[in-house]
Amino acid sequence: MHYDAVIVGSGPAGSMTARFAAEAGAKVLILERRAEVGVPVLCGEGVSQKVDSFKVLEGKRWIATKMKGARIFSPNGTTVTLAAEYAGDETGYVVYRDIFDQELARGALKKGAEIMLNTRAVDLLKKNGKIKGVTAQHFDETLEIEADVVVGADGVESRVGRWAGIKTTLKPYDLETCVQYTMTNIDWDSPYCDFFLGKHVAPGGYIWVFPKGRDVANVGIGVLASLSEAGKAKQYLDKFIAAQPALKKGESLRIITGADPVAEPIQSVTDNLILVGDAARQVDPITGGGLMHSIEAGRYAGETIGNAVEKQRFDTQTLSEYETRWKNAFGKKLHRNYVVKEIMLDMEDKTLDMLADSLKDYKFEEFSTLSIIKALVTKHPSLLVKLTPLMKLARA
């Protein structure tokens, strides 16, 4: 079996890579260790409306609701609102991630990519130290799959990168450990995506409530792993729900766990190998959001593979086109938001309350973390000292 590219993982990053590589004429195989694409869901299921501009999702079946905006609640309950009406109606969707992932995979398969389910990559295939593909376990069979490029789209716990000698192990302060219930029988009538901050709510993270349609909402938590103890994330979430009159009588249709890298971007390319998505830490360190990055970077990875196949060159230099493109597109933003994350981790609850109070009537014209940072700097020139270098990065 020989392919131009073998892609480990059928999440959004893997499927987008496969789609654009296949479209460019590459012979592509996706390996998925699970028996069904997109299942189980490991996500809060929020995505920016920018996803529409990629035109990679057909129909509307993947959309649960369109967000009316977002509300951020500081520890004492002061509310900052990002409303759709001021943001040109450009907000986001709450999605069904299983359907979302399956639609993205279907798009890749329609372009000619192949997929093998229940197939776990177990190691890189190497010859004279050079990456030649992967070894995989497919039911009882051990397969040697040869490929010119191996793509690690294998998520937060990426092992493909480790096998290639890229340091992907996360420090606990660079990981949010998450639990989420999909709840029903609730009295939560907010059309907004709500975020709750505070040391006693979610240390180093936040609790979210994302409406998913009539009487259904995702209620989840992320806690910074370095501030957590065994089972703490679930305990904090249960405590929050019990204290919310609108939620406490609710029942759950689903419980999931998640792990979200909130780290600096890493090296994503080496000879014959590319990392993409959570595996490349393409996640916003403030929000923990990564879907849009995976989709954008997956496209760059796929197009780069197409070019590499045409040239029949698969060395670091050729594949670096991918890294250059994604780092130019959003690498600087990730770095900036990583620094902001560190500043926020140092803030006391009362500082968050004060900042929220100063923004409670602010009319945000853009649905982004950058618009919040800009507003904070306008209101608090003293923050400029810490944030000015970051604003430069934001403009760069």
Binding site: V156, R162, T169, C178
Partner: protein
């Protein structure tokens, strides 16, 4: 006395992979949607135990 090793309670694990991403020893694998610790590699650092959001990793022998 031998050190305790991290042990994943299979019936609790929901396969998020957080433990694997933070394991400095690369001692945890995901097989059939359950995390499994390789006792040979585990150095009892406890990072995975603290990281698990639902407390599915315990010390074997305790």
């Amino acid at each position: 006395m031998a050190k305790h090793k991290a042990f994943v309670k299979k019936e609790k694990c929901l396969a998020c992979g957080g433990c694997i991403s933070v394991c400095p020893q690369d001692a945890i694998l995901m097989i059939s949607s359950k995390a499994i610790v390789d006792n040979e590699l585990c150095n009892s650092c406890s990072i995975c135990v603290k990281t698990c959001p639902i407390g599915a990793i315990i010390w074997e022998g305790t």
